[in-house]
Symmetry: C2
Subunit: 334 residues, 2 copies
């Protein structure tokens, strides 16, 4: 059997490949006392003294490499910072592994590096190690691993939802994926849409630093909000009920999604988080989020229940199932 685009698009096809061929062959996937690869959370951890080192990696093959709102450099920093952030960790340092095609314009690389530098300054992280190769690729590829630090036992998991929790999403969804699609050749939509790509560590830390607990958290990238909610529900062995009219989504994303037949719930975001919090804390957390520039459109979109499994959405015509998508409908989105 051969690899197809769907094997790299998030969703069920990719999950099968990862579980069978990748995880299925690895015996050492966890450091004692830490969170391991088999958890398939946004990052793993290594206990050290009274702290845990939080470790994650993302490969970036986004096409095109420059798009409204960002570029492959910005996404390389933010994607990794955000995976550390949704674990409740303070991101500290990143590595960059760059693969360049022969003939790549060094001015483009210069522009990408400047963008990486800006994103690092926004996130307060350093690039402390790197590697560069030249190979037969059609465009630059950047893989960024990241290290964060969290107090022992304080990592936020994607499996920690509790019955009665409230689900909050930190802003308008679907902007990154649709921006990428529209910036490809052949799409001539007139649009002001731009990617939401941004480091969310400041936003998340504003909630944690105020003393609130977050029971579960993810950044809805490949596969979108639909994928993240399903993963949180499945891993927590609970159900989620969301309300269509409460999901923050711009008119533009709604219109483009409808025109193209793409459900924005399944489209990647690169500057959003979805969190499950205690009902009693939810209004205060929403206040903190909406006071932050990256959270101004944050909304409570639903709640956690033991009455059903999976994700249901209340719409004007009744409840519908929100399935785990087979994959992000837009390939090479990050």
């Amino acid at each position: 059997m051969n690899i197809t685009r769907m094997h790299g698009a998030g969703g069920t096809v990719m999950q099968k490949l990862i579980k069978e061929t990748i995880l299925g062959n690895l015996e050492n996937t966890k450091i004692e006392g830490g969170i391991g690869l088999e958890s398939l959370d946004d990052a793993s951890t290594i206990p050290i003294g009274d702290k845990e080192i939080v470790f994650t990696v993302d490969g970036h093959t986004v096409h095109p490499i420059f798009f409204p709102g960002g570029d492959i450099g910005r996404i390389s920093v933010c994607g990794t910072v955000n995976d550390l952030s949704v674990m409740g960790a303070k991101p500290v340092a990143l590595s960059l592994s760059i693969v360049l095609p022969e003939g790549f314009d060094i001015e483009k690389l210069d522009k990408i590096m400047k963008s990486i530098n800006e994103a690092c300054k926004e996130a307060g992280v350093a690039i402390i190690t790197g590697d560069t190769k030249v190979s037969n690729v059609d465009d630059i590829i950047i893989s960024s691993a990241g290290i964060g630090i969290v107090d022992s036992g304080k990592a936020v998991r994607d499996c920690g939802m509790k019955e009665g929790d409230v689900i909050i999403v930190s802003g308008n969804i679907g902007e990154h994926g649709l921006t990428i699609l529209l910036s490809r050749e052949g799409f001539e939509f007139e649009s002001e849409l731009k990617s939401d790509v941004a480091p969310v560590n400041g936003l998340v830390q504003s909630v944690l630093n105020a003393g609130f607990e977050i029971n579960a958290m993810k950044d809805p990238t490949r596969g979108g909000l639909a994928d993240s909610l399903n993963e949180m529900a499945e891993k927590s062995d609970l159900g989620i009920l969301i309300h269509e009219d409460k999901i923050p989504i711009s008119d533009e994303v709604q219109a483009i999604g409808e025109a193209l037949g793409i459900d924005p719930l399944t489209v990647a975001n690169e500057g959003k988080v979805v969190m499950s919090v205690k009902e009693k804390d939810s209004e205060k957390i929403l206040e903190i989020l909406t006071a932050h520039p990256l959270g101004k459109n944050a909304k409570i979109i639903g709640n956690v229940t033991s009455e059903h499994k999976g994700v249901l959405m209340e719409t004007i015509v009744g409840k519908r199932i929100v399935d785990t998508p087979m994959g992000d409908p837009i390939p090479r989105v990050c």
Copy 2:
């Protein structure tokens, strides 16, 4: 200006790209109290309590992906483990970022993952985080970042050579690079040669655990022993004199190098270390190395001097300069 093969081959052309376009654009490259990117050592460090987290990354684009003695999976583990090892760290955990071409045979991926698993078991490390993408690449690319731990202030640097030190190389050089070259289509040499790719952490720890200090250390990958020695000499602001007749090199590598006009000193190794140690410790360290299966051909090859800068080699016809190569003569070697 555009990227050429030489920009990814180690050596002077690549150093210029890294210093100007990559380092030149980054403002945050170091965590206070740690070793930063600007040191261009084999890894960087992050202080945490009485330890330092040692962090490194390598991208692997080796062609062909299966070769005598190993494959891209084995090299992905060993390359990263070895960068941590030559910093004197205990390698603990790795990340894997895999980029697959559409149409890639999943059975090949399965074989690569099995090889990764074996190498992890040999090195005693775990793969704790990963990412998979499908993109327009001609073959699988694996980027592996790694975390090791070392006691505060105990990291071994490549800049720490002292006058009077003795230079030891842990075994026969040039085997990896020439194996890669011969396993490419069009080379019909009859040869038993195979890559030396192996994790050297056990070998290095056997010296450190015996209580010996290593003043400087590197693993001579892209650019070979010539590149590593020049880097150690330049960063330590000293010179190295090596003796041609003492450099461990198999007859086969010697013959193939001569036939192809390639100097084995400039060719990549993937299971060797070169270290600079006190003269008084050198014979005991050599004994420890040669007692280890990966160090049985270890040799003292020269010494550190303040009488000249750079690297000189004593040959039967007198001394010659061993320059930093412009790049590894064999592209896509790791």
